[in-house]
Amino acid sequence: MTDVNTHEHSDHPVTSGRLPVADVPHKPRRTDVDPKAARRAERQVAGMFTLSVLFVILFVVAYVAIPKDANVYIPVLGLVGAMNLALGVTMGAAVFLIGAGAIQWAKKLMPDVEVVQERHELASEPADTAEAVDQYERGKEESGFAGYKIIRRSLLGALALFPIPLIVLLRDLWVQPTDTPNPQAELETTIWRKGSRIVVDGSYAPVKASDLPVGGLISAVPENMMEVQEEEHTLNARGKAAILVVRMQPDEIRSQQGENWDYQGILAYSKICTHVGCPISLYEQRTHHLLCPCHQSTFDLADSGNVIFGPAARRMPQLPIGVDEEGYLVALADFAEPVGPSFWERG
């Protein structure tokens, strides 16, 4: 690095073996003409590399010394995790300084004269092309690819069909249960049954009609939710059976999907959006509007759950409800239409 200054920074440096650009006047840099400036640049570059080493050491120290759960207050950032901050900053600085040093080196001490390289025609020479064509023709001739028509056609047929096993093997990406004729059958039903008690999601407690005030909202599931979930080891049943239960004044209900599907102003609707399936429970108790946070489809729960805004095309399916002999809210049947996003076979 010390002999950099001995480089001749004329307009025609020989370093690259290429000619410099002819008509751009080259202005020497300070490091080219002032040995002091060059030495300063040298110190800068070396300094950055040395600092980088220091930061690597700090990184290891931080890794060992800082407890995982320590927080530290930093202005602008706020109260943040100390470990993550220390590791990120030391590692970032160590790596960044290597880059900055290299670039400073290139800019200040390596030649800064642009050089010219000629481009060559990309297309092959006609002679080369002709030779390649000859080779191909010879191969075609020798193999008899053109002559043996049957071989050619059967080969093409074989090649066309050989990926089929690879596609067939994908069929059991879905291991179809024996009692399920097609996907549609699974999409059309939920675990709601006549008499299923409605329980609060989270506490799984049954709900008495009198417990729900006007304007109230409950995120609910069927009473056997957890059993089914444990049996199936998936959240599939939950993904279809989740409902929300709301109560409004009976005279505020303008329409619903079936006669008397409410119970004294208590209505139950699916929670799964009919657009692309986000769970919805942004319920505005004054307007009775239900808004999807994903794509802003809006449904009017006082009017059969019809779509009043946004990209959803289908109304929110309603669950018919009543009370059992103990006064707890129950479903009167499964949903009358599939819940969730539309699909081809839905009709």
């Binding site: 927080n71 609060v200 808004l291």
Partner: protein, 261 residues
Amino acid sequence: MKSLVARRRHPLALALLLLFALAAVAGIYAVASASAPAIASDSTQTQVEEGKKLYLEGCSSCHGLGAEGTVNGPTLIGVGAAAVDFQVSSGRMPLAAPGAQAQAGPAMYDEKEVAQLAAYVASLAPGPQIPTAEDLNTDNVDVALGGLLFRTNCAQCHQAAGGGGALTQGKYAPSLMGSEPKEIWEAMVTGPQSMPVFSDSSITPDDKRAIIAYIEELQTSASPGGLDLGRIGPVTETVFLFTAVAAALAFAAIWIGMKAR
């Protein structure tokens, strides 16, 4: 929320904390003394009368002379003291200006007046009560359960980090980052404005305390990963990416491309 964290380290924080402690003690004392029946009925009676006066002056034009509601405002019969306390002490009522929804702001009535208004409205019909210090005691609650319930019942409108979110037609669910436990409780039991009511059957009092504890956790917790960008997810991350990060990378690229002098 950043500012909140910052303020915790403020020299005034200690003073504020002491003040809160004092207020809490005073509150407990007040509750304890309120439970003494003789004094209670008496003071309640005067409170109701004072409250009625305030009501007729400031509220009756919209809510009706008998609080039965008009075209301009809903009935207040049965909304309870909690609703009044929530709406009036948060400055949402009296309504400052017509709009998509009432905005929180500086309260128009002092604490005593709010209590009087609340007592009057509570006297009209039974309704949700203002929570006691006991109701809001979050010692020994399960924060993780609170988180689960928060995500089930609250996050859909108030966002997973409690930052708030949009509703229809310009309405919105406010941020919970500055909300006090009492406010959160009152909002749950009364269902102010668009918010539905979460009665005790939907969220039990224990569960309400757990949710409050979780919201407090959200309000005060550190950000393990650094600058938290509001914790609202990809949108602020995108804004940061195309401003600060893009500027840093562009600066580096331009520095490299620039000729040294």
